[in-house]
Amino acid sequence: MLGRLVAAALLGHRARTILAVAGVAVSAALLLDMVMLSTGMSVSFRSLLLARGFQLRVAPKGTLPFDTEATIADATATIAALRESPDIDAVSPVLGGNIHVPGANGTATSAVALGLDPRYQGDYEILAGRDPGEGEIVANDALLAAIGRGVGDTLTIAGGYDPQLRRFAGVRRVTIAGRARFLYLSRGQRAAAMPTASLQALGGASRRDRASLMMIRARPGADVETVRAWIARRLPRVTAISTETALAQVEERLSYFRQLAFILGSVSLVVGVLLVGTLVTVSVNERIGEFAVLRAIGVAKRTITAQIMIEGATLMLVGSLLGLLLGLVTARYLNAILSSFPGLPQAIDFFLFQPRSAWTALGLLAIAGVLAGAWPAWRGASLPVARTLREEAA
């Protein structure tokens, strides 16, 4: 019977119920989006940095990985020195550079090039084909579209271009072994990857035996901080930074996002609570006579309180579930906009759905909404029956 009374009350004022649910849904969607935004980037960065299990990155002294054009000289010796540590499982050097693909009439298509060890790399995901071997590359869709080639095709690439002489340097023929998605590069940025030795050869003397950074994987059980300290002592010309430190730096840079998300999320929570509190209060005020009659015929306070609170909870529940859908749709749309900012890694998500956080946020909203309805509910159930009946009759 309680359910029937709740349904009757909500369906009896359809327009108000629909507006209330819509209001709660918008509030819940905003709250969900803010929760997704506050945690999305850091979680996304974390999974990106840990994608292949590399816990340390080694860069030239005083720089961050790929922050500058600086490179580590004597890469072979550096790698050998790193492999001396019994705690280091794998070392993966990465060299950054550019390549040019000559076209018709002296034109060229330029792209970012990564030289790396395909066995250990954590920079790209193969979408079709396979990792590159000697004399091969993998390229992303943007580059393949620009040059009109596909997996299996052979093409000429150059490591340099002199615009005055209009001459390419370090020219060689390579085969496209695979199509790949580059995790750290921005959407639309043309890119290719090949074995480190190939890119070093393309770059000539300036790139010989150099690496932009080295990714280090510690052995299972090894303490990453101990490894970092060992590298700092053993190789004073480089800086080793752990993933956790990198993440802490990212977290610091993202604090503005989190503060913004926290404020907007709190506002949406308050708006949701006020909305439900107001609607339940209005509903109770309209039905004072009804509640007085129910009390007069022997309906207990707790039954009336429960009825009113269930009405509020139903509005919150339905609104929150619709808000979940709305929040996911808007997050996807906003993510697409924000992810297309120039210079941002393609694999970074601003809005990341994490079920636990989402349910916590929506649960918080639902509980707050139910509590917001508690006072008007108790007030409605506690009216002086005789006086209310007398005033209703007047």
Partner: protein, 238 residues
């Protein structure tokens, strides 16, 4: 001599209205036996409805006692008074006060549901009660689909839902035309004939004429209490 079903001892009720203290009921003492059919009559504002609220335990006296089955209801907690109203007292209001979104049957089932009766049992009893008040076949109609007289019959069926010892009615024909009012009065008569104790506050002469006892009130006092002998004439002469 057996204990009366209901007894009022020097009951007083005051309230504050428009900046003044109003003595709505002033030291009323009254006994009502089980099976009685009693009408309370008097001019507007004389304290009839206040007295009815005190009888029904939805209001508390400022002085004196109200005893139902020998139990002082004015000393009950809110929860106990609610339970008493649910199981021992039936209410019929002038404006019916049915829940518009519920069907006639659901309105009658409401007090039974609150009393914890099972779904099947209360549906069956609601059907019986609606049949008793002449609304068989109208169970699924909602109040807006029923006439005023039919709505008041549903309200009477609701008042009888938990087999109360006492039915209290406040101007039950006040919103009805003369013919429908007479039908409702006949229904009350039948209820009393079947053993239900009735206390009706009314301005309706026909309804008061049907009562076996008429209590006259004026300015918060019982000024005359007539039993048996030509109560109809007494009611007309108030």
């Amino acid at each position: 001599m057996s204990e009366p079903l209901l007894r009022l001892e020097h009951v007083e009720r005051r309230y504050h209205m428009g900046g003044e203290d109003v003595r709505a009921v002033r030291g009323v003492s009254l006994s009502i036996d089980a099976g009685e059919h009693l009408a309370i009559v008097g001019p507007s504002g004389c304290g009839k409805s206040t007295l009815l609220n005190l009888l029904g335990a939805i209001d508390r006296p400022d002085a004196g006692r109200v005893l139902l089955d020998g139990r002082d209801v004015s000393a009950l907690s809110d929860r106990e008074a609610t339970e008493l109203r649910l199981r021992r007292i039936g209410f019929v209001f002038q404006r019916f006060h049915l829940l518009a979104a519920l069907s006639a049957r659901e309105n009658v089932e409401l007090p039974m549901s609150e009393a914890g009766l099972g779904k099947r049992e209360r549906a069956e009893r609601a059907r019986e009660l609606l049949s008793y008040v002449g609304l068989a076949g109208r169970e699924r109609h909602r109040p807006p689909q029923l006439s005023g007289g039919e709505q008041q019959r549903v309200a009477i069926a609701r008042a009888l839902a938990n087999r109360p010892a006492l039915v209290l009615a406040d101007e039950p024909t006040g919103e009805l035309d003369a013919r429908t009012g007479a039908e409702v009065a006949a229904l009350f008569q039948r209820l009393n004939d079947d053993g239900t104790t009735l206390v009706i506050v009314t301005h309706d002469e026909e309804l008061a004429a049907a009562a076996k006892r008429v209590v006259h009130m004026r300015d918060g006092l019982v000024v005359r209490d007539e039993r048996g002998v030509a109560p109809a004439a007494a009611a007309r002469g108030r």
